[in-house]
Symmetry: C2
Subunit: 220 residues, 2 copies
DNA sequence: CAGACTAACCCACCTAGGGGTGTGCCACGA
DNA sequence: TCGTGGCACACCCCTAGGTGGGTTAGTCTG
């Protein structure tokens, strides 16, 4: 395995194309330094990448299991979590698993590229959690309809069939908080029930487009 | 408007293609006597038909309103209800509205054609309700997965976003009965919650394919 | 600095939904 | 005849989900 020159190869691991495309668009101006590997096919992974960028948005299983899958696969040289969630339990879990970066979704494109380069060069980069909530960049389903990224994630998990307790566990929120978010998002999309919310979600891009983590199971 | 010779033109009014195709297949051997008009397009109705055959399966609005829409449209010479439901309130409502037939889904294809011909000739035909449950012919979503026609109808209404009270009202069943059916169908499709049932329904043909009643609103 | 806004969270209350158990009727097949 | 399955229904119990009302802490902006 030779040391390779050229832009850093990054694979974005998330099931929602709109999210992946949002990140890819952010990185696009820097394509001489970072390039997004396309994992849109149904084939297992065959080429290694420099960085597997695990986007936490609406992942259907526990982050622990999914990050472990990435760490266990030698085809990802570096594993980086890209998230708005700085819950301490989550951060320490990820570090215990050995991730090489834990990056905030509030980073600008320039900052994100710089962090990826540092990680590629061997550093471990952990974003501070400051100013993360309000300044989230990127894209998510329902953004055009006025849903915040958190509301979007919760609706995505509901549209995957999760109940409130499952949503709370996956997002590291309390059940009460989940209910509060649900109330708000129902108002925004003008529905009265979970069933109607799911149907709205199905029609508006809240079903996962892929199961990208499956490309990473089992190793080569 | 001249009296026309040739097979009777029948328009089947239901939103699920599998149901319409099931009826059409039943009538196919008799195509010299009865032919099914295709209303699969998004255009308003332009040609009249001899009989509008209103299939009650999983209609999303009250039967009263939908049958009235058909009765009020002069492009349907005769309006016939085709159903497994012989709830007295429903039968008398339909007759009060002026339907020319109320036909059982347990009729064989031969019997159905004979009834349609009698109706076309000016008679009013009301099926007896005997032996209707077990011998339903035709097709419905989820039949291949072991759902009865009633279970299928209830899942279709759930997949349209109706709550149990709404399902009960639309099917002329008690809320307790609806719950019993739900319990049974959940077991058959192996789901634990309404949300999962809706997602299963979305994937397995339980969303309406059309809004066929819209072709009949407002008249020419 | 103060105010506005947002995210995260709480509690109380009520009903919609689902599990369990059971009844009765009918039709059909072994 | 008995068993099974479908239809329709009842009652009991419990929690998942939703509504309403609120608090706290952090961030940003004028």
């Amino acid at each position: 395995m030779s040391t390779r020159r050229g832009p850093i190869q990054v694979a974005i691991v998330d099931d929602y194309d709109v999210v992946v495309i949002g990140v890819a668009n952010m990185l696009e101006p820097y394509r001489d330094r970072v390039v997004v590997a396309e994992l849109d096919t149904n084939k297992p992974l065959v080429d290694d990448v420099d960085i597997a960028l695990y986007d936490s948005f609406a992942q259907p299983e526990s982050d622990h299991d999914e990050i472990r899958t990435l760490i266990d696969n030698p085809l990802a040289r570096r594993v980086v979590v890209y998230t708005g969630n700085f819950h301490p339990e989550l951060v320490s879990m990820a570090r215990d698993l050995g991730v090489h970066g834990y990056l905030s979704k509030a980073l600008s494109g320039r900052e994100l590229v710089a962090a990826l380069e540092a990680i590629h060069a061997g550093e471990t980069v952990i974003s501070s959690s400051a100013a993360q909530a309000r300044n989230t960049v990127g894209d998510w389903p329902g953004r055009g309809e006025g849903l915040s990224d958190r509301e979007s994630e919760i609706l995505a998990l509901i549209t995957q069939g999760k109940n409130n307790a499952e949503v709370a566990a996956l997002t590291y929120l309390s059940p009460n908080t989940v209910k509060s978010y649900i109330r708000g998002l129902y108002r925004k999309i003008d529905v009265d029930s979970r069933t109607q919310a799911v149907l709205w979600g199905v029609r508006n891009g809240f079903l996962p487009d892929h199961r990208r983590i499956e490309h990473w199971r089992g190793g080569p």
